[in-house]
Structures are given as C-alpha cells and as structure tokens.
C-alpha cells in the first residue's frame, strides 16, 4: 500500500510546477498567433445537451479561425457535473480549460479557488450589461470568477380554456393570482379527478421561493461576514403562508413532487374514444396552471403528427403564458435557471481560454443563444430571443429575477435536499414560523461550511 503513496507527492509536484509555469511566464503567448497554436487543444465542458449543435460548431470553427488551436467540446451530464468538476478541476494535467456550471453551483467552486480570476476582462466581456444576479453568484466579494452563460427564468403556463370556463381573468397582482387558482380548483369546470388550479409540487422549492421573494423575503443574507438563513423573517413567512394556502386549496400535487416535467399536467395526453370513434372525454389533464422555465413551451401543446412522429404543438387558443405578477404591479421576482461559465484555475492555456470567452461573449454568439431560445447573458442582445409571447414573458420575468445565495455552502444545502424537505412540510404545518425557524437552524451552519 505504501508503494502507492508517492503518487500524492507526484500530483502535488505537478500542481506546483504548472502553477509556476503559469505565473512566471514573462512573454505572454499571443492567443491569436495561429501558427504557434496549431497543435494546442482547449477543452470546454458543456453541461447537458442544452447548447445546440450549431452553436458548438460555431464555437469550434471560430476558435480555430481566430487562434489556430483546436477546441474540443465535451458534454457532461447534469447529474454528474459536481463530482466530475470536483475531481478534474484541481488536476492540472487533465483539467478542462473552460467549464459550464449551473448558476447556483457556482459558489461551491468560486469559494475554493477552482476558477481563474476574470475581473480584468469583466468589462471587456460586457461588464454591467451582463445579467447581474448571475454575475453575483459567480463572484466572491468583488472578484469575478464565473460569468453568466445563458438564463431562462420561470413564468406561468396556463390553460386559457380552463381559466375561461372557471370565469377567471388574467391576474395583475400576486393576491389576484393566489385567489384565482384557488377559485379554478374549486370550480373544477370539467370535473377532473384530483384537479389543480395551480399544480405546484410539495418539494418544488425552486418555484415556491417566488412567493418568498415577492413578499420581500429572501433565503439568506450575509451579516457581519457570515451567512444567515432567513426563512423565518416576517416577510419570508408571509410568502410561505400564501404558498401554504395554495398547497391546501389550489394544488393537488403530491407533497414529495419536485419540479420535473410539470407540463404533463396541463397537456391533454390521451383521449379515449368510444365505439363510434367519438371522444369519450377521459384525458390526463390535471391542472389549469403550472410554473416552469421558459423552455418548457417546447414540451407543451396539442398532440400533432410531424414527419410521422407524434409531437407537441403549441396552440394559442388553448395555452397562454404570463409572468407571475408581483405585489407592486411589476412581475414578481422569480428564480432564474441557467448556467455560468468559467475558466479553470489550473488551465495550461489561460490566454486561449480567455480568447474563447471573448468569442462566447461576442455579439454574434450572444445572438445565437437568443435565437436558440436561451436567454443571452448580455442584456443588449435579449431582443434576439424574438418578439413572441415566450420571449416577452421570459424578458419580463427575468427583469426581476433572483438567484439562490452566493454562500460557499449553498451547494451543500441543495444536495442535502434540505429545502425540498422544508417545502414538503409546508402544506400540513400548524405553525409555519416554528417550522421555518427549525430549518433556519439547520441551514445556517451549512451555508458557511467550506
């Protein structure tokens, strides 16, 4: 066993060596010297299949053209991203140079020095025009480590037909929304079993926190350099009370449902036909409203045949979208989904990696993101999302979007599924404040742990 121990020393030495060569190199290599870069390869990890193929091709082609070096884009699946980054990022020999990371996962890595300091190129890449909640999630105090890659904030998808049958109009304030969905659930215009006016899973905290945010509450705040969980603050509790009423009166979702595939509940899935081929009316429709990230509209609609395959086709007369209204006439602050992008601190090609960042934050690429339905990082280019109702709802809801706290231990809170547990207990809680205090006590120490 002892025979293997020198490996540790070896790896350690490699780390030190590469750190030196990165830091003391006087003549910074020119990233655009195409001949000198010809045999270099920069690796970029993208998470999941969310970056479409055309965008990947654009990146590799442009990178080759600009630098002469090869860009290898490798896709890592979302579920395995954290363990893979944990092992590969500190390994100078095998680290990816540029990585995409979930926006709320960023603090885990920024706080331990996994990423290269990008403060000096922050303005060049867009500066204040970049989505600030994401920039904040990727910063430690004023040092910028991870920058926004794309976003998609959450808004409401409704069955216009059901809202109309229940005689309820589109709400203009949070209170109106809360009572509207309860009315629809009680009215249940089509007598559907287990029908929800608004389907929100018991453990679906990513949507549920909108009610905390909308009432001026927050998940945590930094006090005297320490993070403190604030679920039991009066404004947070006010939001939780409204949410509790929704769970009790408007939603039939199970207490342990999360935010996966909520569109199943507002789609008409199957129509049972009787002997005469007439629809006998049994469908899987179970909700009038859901809340989901903007890209959910790709999965919502009437069944249609396209190239011989059954797909969903959005239909304006049945379905509609609007941002969750806030308490002040503006859209409510909602949780924004999406990714950040960063350069590994151990990269052997810092200049090339930075050049790749320039390409990603270029006007052309930002517009391509928008064209693919992903909210671009730079607010100058959000118009590239188009001017349909989805783009509108996305831009409106993002205008006021928020993220989870940039605390070093945030990822620990998420992976321990503490919030899932807390939200799952809201519906049946007798004393919400006590419940919130109980979970504040659990979360606060986790937030500051490294």
């Amino acid at each position: 066993m002892l025979r293997r121990l020198p490996l540790v020393a070896l790896t350690g030495a490699a780390l030190v060596l590469s750190a030196c060569s990165g830091g003391t190199d006087a003549a910074t290599p020119d990233p655009t010297d195409t001949a000198a870069n010809a045999d270099k390869t920069v690796t970029m990890w993208v998470a999941g299949g969310d970056t479409p193929d055309e965008l990947r091709t654009y990146l590799t082609d442009t990178f080759k053209e600009r630098t002469g070096a090869t860009l290898a884009i490798e896709e890592q699946s979302w579920g395995d991203l954290i363990p893979k980054l944990t092992t590969a990022l500190p390994d100078a020999d095998n680290t990816p140079d540029v990585v995409e990371v979930g926006n709320t996962q960023s603090p885990t890595f920024t706080n331990v020095g996994a990423f290269m300091d990008l403060t000096d190129m922050y303005d060049e890449l867009g500066g204040d025009k970049l989505l600030q909640s994401f920039v904040e999630a990727g910063s430690v105090d004023d040092t910028k480590y991870a920058l926004p890659y794309y976003f998609g904030s959450r808004y409401m998808f409704v069955r216009k037909d059901l809202w109309k049958e229940a005689g309820v109009a589109e709400p203009t304030s949070l209170d109106e929304f809360n009572s509207a969905v309860a009315t629809i659930a009680q009215d249940n215009p089509r007598d559907i079993k287990n029908f929800s006016g608004f389907f929100i899973g018991g453990q679906d905290w990513r949507n549920g926190i909108s009610w905390i945010f909308a009432n001026g509450g927050d998940l945590a705040k930094k006090e005297n350099g320490q993070w403190v969980s604030t679920l039991a603050d009066p404004s947070s509790v006010k939001g939780l009370e409204q949410l509790q009423k929704i769970y009790q009166d408007a939603s039939q979702a199970p207490a342990d449902a999360k935010d996966q595939s909520p569109w199943l509940y507002i789609n008409d899935s199957d129509t049972i036909t009787d002997d005469n081929g007439e629809a006998a009316g049994k469908t899987s429709l179970a909700a009038a409203t859901i809340m989901a990230p903007g890209w959910a509209h790709w999965s919502i609609g009437e069944l249609a045949e396209k190239d011989g395959e059954q797909v969903r086709e959005w239909d304006d007369s049945t379905f509609g979208v609007f941002p969750l209204p806030g308490t002040d006439g503006n859209p409510a602050p909602v949780f924004a989904g999406g990714s950040n992008i960063a350069v590994s601190a151990q990269t052997k090609n810092p200049e090339l990696a930075k050049e790749l960042m320039r390409i990603i934050f270029s006007e052309e690429y930002q517009k391509m993101l928008g064209g693919a339905g992903l909210g671009p990082a730079n607010s100058d280019y959000v118009s590239s999302l188009g001017d349909d109702e989805f783009a509108q709802a996305l831009i409106d809801s993002a205008s006021n979007s928020k993220l989870t706290p940039a605390a070093p231990g945030w990822a620990a809170v998420e992976s321990a599924l503490v919030l899932e547990e807390f939200f799952g207990k809201i519906r049946d809680a007798k004393d919400l404040t006590a419940l919130a205090q109980e979970y504040d006590a659990k979360i606060t120490p986790m937030l500051n742990a490294q």
Partner: protein
C-alpha cells in the same frame, strides 16, 4: 398419481406466474422502446406497442456516440473477462490445491475486500489513474474492474478446481504426458463450467458498471455504454428526456448480455457457484 399430475400442472402455472413477474419490467422496457414519448406520458398504460415504430431504435443507432461507446465497452469488458478468468484461476488453484502459510489470510482477505464500500473511493481512484496517465484509458478501467471481480471469481472457481481430483492428472502423467499436457487435456475441460460461470459474472459486472467509469473516463470519446446511457437519460435541462429513446437505448445495451447469457446458459447454470457446493 392423479394428485401428482394436478400438482405438477399447478406448479407449472406457478412457474409461469413467477416468470411473468420477472419478465414484466423487461417487457415494459421493450414495449416502451417502440412507443413515442407522448404515448409514454399517458395516464393509461399502453400494454402492446400497436402503432409503434422502430424510430427510437434508428435514432439511437444513428448516434455515432453509441457505436463508439459500444467499442469501448467491448474492449473493457472482454479484457476484464479474460484477465479475471486467468488471474482467478491461478488464485483458485493456489488455495484449493496447496496448503501454504498465509493461505487462510489470503482467503479471508478475498472475503473482506468485497465489503469495502465504494462510494467514498472516487477521488482517490481519480488521483491514482490521473498520476499514472490512465485516465480515459480502456485498459486502466479494465484493471480496476478486474480487481473488483477477482475476489468473487476466485471463490467461484475454487470449488471446481477442488472437484477435479489431482489423481486424474497424476495418472495422466504416469501415462507419459507432461504436467502441462495433463493439465490441458484432463483438468481444463472439467473446469469449463466454472470458467464460464466466472466469465459471465465478470462480463455482467464490467458491462453494467458506471460509478467507477464515471470518474475515470472523463472524455466524451472514451465513454462506456452505461455512461452513454446515463447521458441519454439526463440529456438536457431545457428539453424533456425522450424516454422512448432511452428505453430503445437500454434494450440495445441489454441485448449483448442476453445473447451472451443464452449462448453459455446450459453450462452456466451448472457452473454457477458450483464452487460453493463442493467447497
């Protein structure tokens, strides 16, 4: 006699019911592989894939990553199977044919090693493979897999080795065969079921494993089939998983194992932990 026949019929019916329970999830995978995603989301189950298509399968096979992963998996699995059989055979020979100092510690170690919990080892495994330059290397992964299956395969094989009387070999040697010849002509054929059974075990483990592979096979083109399958399941945060395709992909991953099983089936069931019976 009559009672005897009725009970045989009843038992056969029971056997069919049990078969159904074990086969149903497999059938469900196959069934879903032919159906489009929207049908799979319906609240009323579709039991027979009428109106289904091979579309899911063709989508999977057209993915160049599938063939690449198939290649990696074949290399890793076959290397593991061969290496495990050879190494385990030597080990089994040692503990069943010889009494030597340290023998019982060796046997005990084989048992205890199987109790090591694996979930906490991944950082160390990564560090080790990285410093040896074996990340993304099919052979490196095969070494880890072989080490994982060898303790159990030795255990399986020892009974078979013990079951072949050493006198047989000696008799052959008296007839003028060398020790090696005697071994190859007499002992080896008798061991075949045991070797097949351990081979199957090693094959199954190496073919389906994904936690270790996840850690040491980081590059996209060195992924094994289970990793590729997993990537397929969690393809995207922005679009829905196409479950029909996932099931088609799963079916394709399972087919080589099933074929392999059916080929060696006759020999295997007689070989399966025959070792323990005789041990």
């Amino acid at each position: 006699m009559r009672r005897h026949r009725t009970s045989r019929v009843l038992l056969s019916v029971l056997a069919l019911v049990v078969s159904l329970v074990w086969a149903f999830p497999v059938y469900w995978m196959l069934n879903s592989a032919f159906l489009p995603n929207v049908v799979l989301q319906s609240t009323t189950p579709t039991f027979v894939p009428f109106g289904g298509s091979l579309r899911n399968f063709s989508a999977v096979v057209d993915d160049p990553a599938f063939l690449r992963a198939l290649g990696v998996s074949l290399v890793v699995t076959l290397t593991t199977v061969v290496a495990a059989i050879v190494v385990a055979f030597f080990g089994a020979l040692a503990i069943s044919r010889f009494r030597f100092r340290g023998r019982s510690s060796f046997v005990l170690a084989l048992l205890l090693i199987q109790m090591l919990p694996a979930e906490g080892l991944f950082i160390a495994q990564y560090k080790m493979m990285s410093s040896l330059g074996l990340l993304n290397h099919a052979l490196g992964l095969a070494v880890l897999y072989t080490a994982a299956v060898v303790p159990f395969t030795i255990w399986m094989l020892r009974g078979f080795v013990a079951g072949v009387p050493a006198e047989l070999e000696e008799a052959a040697m008296v007839d003028g065969l060398s020790r090696t010849q005697a071994f190859l002509r007499i002992t080896f054929p008798l061991l075949a079921p045991g070797l097949v059974a351990s081979g199957v075990y090693a094959f199954l483990q190496a073919w389906n494993e994904f936690t270790v592979a996840l850690v040491v096979m980081t590059a996209e083109d060195s992924r094994t089939l289970p990793l590729w399958l997993r990537g397929f399941v969690q393809a995207s945060a922005t679009r829905e998983t196409d479950w029909g395709q996932v099931m088609a992909a799963s079916t394709l991953v399972a087919v080589p194992v099933i074929v392999f099983f059916l080929v060696v089936q006759g020999r295997m069931s007689s070989g399966l932990v025959g070792g323990a019976v005789k041990g």
